[in-house]
């Protein structure tokens, strides 16, 4: 059971990182990004390829994952800067599909739908599997902590203030003297870097990545995590990620004890229960578990 809990905490760490990355782009800047799994995949592939094919050391691979995703994020932001809301949603969604299909079809580079296996992990093989899990737990949650602190500082700074202004009204932000495009590009780049870094960490934990793993379902989970936690609040992103993993996993045990239904029905009950819980959560806490609060008070 311990091993299982640790593994799930590691997963929650990945989800938390993704939710944090998404929060910069979507929560703060208001740019809908339904393609987050694409950036996640880019980071994962970049690091996996560089470490397995070119034998780069792992930390460099992680960094490269973040950088590649960040570059893609910057380009993406430049292309879509004019688009708003739901129009942005479809383009980003498309981006993720493009990444997934490219990974499936460009076999020479990505090994196609076979995926890349045997991705190294820190001290994997030298230590026992439970120890490896513990090491990774440390790595991932350290990353979460660092990213959290950085992003929280960012969000409560004048920079974050401009991002939130852009989220609400671009024209006003522009008239306020803020180069809107440049802010958007930076926000998108930062968010994509976090997503890419999360992907890189994920690849080396799982030892295997394949296009199937970067399906829209993951995006849905992360978006749900962020919404459940509270869009805009960095703490919300982490709480939301933990909440979603807890939901995904606890429903296994619940559905197992329901008598008199077939396995498919159990599976259906489980997925249905996940969906229902999220609907109920939103219903009764529409602003999420941790609503965005302002920290800039006139009277301290």
């Amino acid at each position: 059971m311990d091993a299982y809990l640790i593994a799930m905490l590691v997963f929650a760490g990945f989800y938390a990182l993704m939710a944090l990355g998404l929060n910069v782009i979507w929560g703060l800047t208001g740019m809908v990004n339904l393609g987050l799994v694409g950036f996640f995949a880019l980071g994962a592939y970049a690091s996996a390829l560089l470490t397995t094919k070119l034998f780069w050391p792992m930390p460099l691979g992680w960094a490269a994952g973040a950088v590649v995703a960040a570059a893609a994020g910057a380009i993406m932001a430049l292309i879509v800067a004019r688009l708003r809301g739901d129009y942005l949603a479809i383009v980003t969604l498309g981006f993720a599909e493009v990444i997934r299909l490219t990974a499936s079809n460009e076999i020479w580079l990505t090994n196609g739908t076979d995926g890349i296996s045997g991705i190294p992990g820190p001290w994997r093989g030298d230590v026992s599997p439970p120890e490896f899990n513990l090491i990774y737990l440390g790595i991932v949650w350290t990353a979460v902590a660092v990213v959290f602190v950085l992003l929280a500082r960012l969000s409560h700074s004048p920079f974050g203030r401009v991002l939130r202004a852009i989220r609400e009204d671009e024209d006003v932000a522009a008239v306020a003297g803020k180069p809107v495009l440049w802010f958007k590009v930076r926000a998108f780049t930062i968010g994509a870097a976090v997503l890419g870094g999360a992907g890189a960490l994920y690849a080396h934990y799982n030892a295997y990545i394949a296009p199937d793993g970067f399906a829209p379902l993951l995006t849905i989970y992360i978006v749900l995590a962020l919404t459940a936690g509270g869009v805009g609040a960095m703490r919300g992103a982490i709480i939301g990620a933990l909440f979603v993993i807890a939901l995904l996993e606890s429903t296994r045990f619940l559905s197992a004890i329901i008598p008199g239904v077939s396995p498919v029905q159990k599976a259906a009950l489980r997925e249905g229960a996940i969906a229902l819980s999220l609907i109920l959560l939103l219903r009764f806490r529409p602003q999420g578990l941790i609503p965005e609060k302002t920290r800039t008070k006139a009277t301290p």
Binding site: I90, V91, V98, P216, L224, V264, A275, P286
Partner: protein, 290 residues
């Protein structure tokens, strides 16, 4: 791959056929968006619901398609109404994105309710499958042609309703400013319910047409939702004729994949087409405001 103009014409025609299947759900999506201003991804769930309702009527009780289709409309519309009232309405003040997220969860919920009741097996309608008609080497399937017809009629009807009737005006007024509409004597919730019912119903019909054209399972709606959303966006969110046009763009875009890249890149080609359209018209082809 392409030998003469006929092949090109064939690809275009295929695109129109594929597009016409997307048309009804896309119109349903835009109908809801037009009034409530949030993207209702649960349209996927409503489409699947309609597909199953129609299937039960047709394959289990032997109803003809002409009767099963209205039933699909009714059942999907009611489910949409239920989802709106129970889940989405209380969320509307929290903003369109929150509702959109909830609608994704709703799709998962509906998918699994159907899975619970029907299982994962593929099911086909009880219909003979007709051979294509051929004209000078170009093939058209009468069934698909008929589906296109249904879709166009529904689109036209709804367009007239929204554009020229008192109800349509009230719907657009609620979309603009529900509070003011209320002050002027419109019950925004009633209007919202009408829009949701029509939108959900159309999605249900669309789902049934997909089912007739292919086969159905709990994922039927989910498979087309991306393309449906794309069609709605390309055409212009909230625009009924836009949705019809967008469905054609996406349909043709996807069928063109074989010419441009490879069929394995179907989605990619479609998205490139979408990106191209949005570069020039960020609010979609027929979208009015941004």
């Amino acid at each position: 791959m392409i030998q003469d103009w006929r092949d090109l014409a064939q690809v275009l025609l295929n695109g129109v056929m594929a597009g016409s299947v997307l048309m009804l759900p896309a119109i349903g999506f835009n109908c809801i968006f037009a009034v409530l201003r949030y993207p209702n991804f649960a349209i996927a769930g409503f489409a699947t619901t309609g597909a199953f309702a129609g299937w039960v009527a047709n394959a289990v009780y032997g109803w003809p398609v002409g009767l099963a289709l209205p039933l699909a409309f009714l059942v999907a519309g009611l489910v949409a109404l239920l989802a709106e009232e129970a889940a989405f309405r209380p969320l509307r003040p929290a903003g369109p994105l929150t509702v959109a997220i909830a609608s994704v969860a709703m799709t998962l919920l509906i998918e699994n309710i159907l899975r619970f009741s029907f299982g994962n097996d593929l099911r086909g309608y009880d219909l003979p499958i007709l051979r294509d008609w051929r004209f000078d080497g170009i093939r058209i399937n009468p069934q698909q042609l008929q589906n296109t017809g249904y879709a166009i009629v529904a689109a036209g009807g709804l367009f007239l309703l929204l554009g020229f009737s008192r109800l349509g005006r009230a719907m657009r007024a609620v979309a603009d400013n529900p509070v003011l509409a209320d002050i002027k004597g419109v019950d925004p919730n009633r209007i919202a319910r009408v829009a949701v019912f029509i939108g959900g119903g159309l999605a249900g019909c669309g789902g049934m047409l997909v089912g007739i054209d292919t086969s159905i399972d709990p994922l039927t709606g989910f498979r087309v939702v991306l393309s449906v959303f794309a069609a709605a966006v390309v055409g212009g969110l909230g625009s009924i004729p836009g949705a019809a046009l967008g469905a054609m763009v996406v349909g043709v875009g996807e069928e063109m994949a074989g010419l441009v890249l490879s069929p394995a890149y179907r989605t990619v080609t479609a998205f490139l087409a979408i990106l191209l359209v949005l570069m020039f018209r960020p609010q979609g082809i027929l979208g009015g405001r941004n």
